[in-house]
Amino acid sequence: MLSTSKAIQDKIAELTAMVEWFDSDEFVLETALEKYQIAEKLAAEIEDDLTSLKNEVQIVKQKFDSEK
């Protein structure tokens, strides 16, 4: 679960970099369509990941009502 969460942040960072590429000097029209398709797929993956992730709640066994 934790590694997936990490992957989401990586994917978001990757998507952000890709979006920035379109406004950068490195932009090349010939590869733009391919990049756009990759970005679209990545956005769908991020949505799936974000929607499916659940938190894991665990009650600590230790009692705190007195010193050990």
Binding site: S5, L33, E40, N55, E56, F64
Partner: protein
Amino acid sequence: MEKSQNQPAYSVSDFIAVFNQTLEYAYPNVIIEGEVASFKVSHGKFVFFDIKDAGGSINCFMTIWQMRQPIQDGMKVILTASPKLTQWGKFSLTVKSLRPSGEGAIKKSFDLLKEKLDKEGLFAIERKRTLPHIPKHVGLISSTGAAGYGDFIKILGDRWGGIKIDVANVQVQGESAPDQIIRAINYFNQQELLPEVIIIIRGGGSADDLSTFNDELLVRAIASSRVPTLVGVGHEVDESLADLAADVRASTPSNAAQILVPDRQEIIRSIHGQVGSLFARVLQLIDQHRRLVDSQLRGAIDVIAKTIDEEFRRIKSIQSILSQLDPKVILGRGYAMLRGATKVGTIIEIETNKVIMKAEVTNVINK
């Protein structure tokens, strides 16, 4: 021990001991509410004061370390104590715990402790640490039965996923609450795998309920935590010293969840918005490229047209010059052409604009 009329005679110290045993049996813990008078601290360790009301007054004793919230004369307090007869025959209460009672006393105690801890720099902005952007492992300190806990877990789950939440279930009000919360803070700080944030939450309540979070030792434990802290206690208008000592303050437990993680729905909307805008961006860039190519083509056509114009003008100029040299044009201006030898007696041919004629040379004079 001498006996008189079958009645045992105690020594003074024995009587005091027996009397104290009786008191301890009858009143192991008494809870008393009253007003503080004659408050003093001796040698920086021992606290003496009287607790009184309109009908009476009792001496009280405690150590400075048991005093978790500041008090002063005139303040109304609730104390837990055991009654005792001292070896000098003086009746006294040995105080185990004490807290201000009533809004006025709670506020006064809050202000005194706030001033003290502020002077020590516990609330200084420079001490505040930032929380990790999206933590993967957090320690949560709360009562699992409290509404604030349920709100926090629900909103956190709505907003984000994939977080490991270790929950320390503690009392969040009452006499033992501060110590329980302190133990939970210490517990998380001593873990081999430290959580990235410690979150302390509690829903709204009366000033008395929330006074737990103005406990001096608790405030110090929050300030000295190795792990960054996020505290969300009470409602938006409530302010506790625990809030002030925390690295980040949330106004409510729900707000704590909002501060801790972004909203996944907003992120989903944002990434789709970004990708959607890319298509428009590509179209815009294609249009820009098309306009650029158009402009370059128009430029090339203009250059070609200009060159052609110049060539036409040059040819016309040549044509104009040539036309001036045409013999017919010269004849038109009244001149004549003469063919034949310029010797006397020969016949020559003369051509004008309109006729060709023959004539005989009768005289030749050299110029």
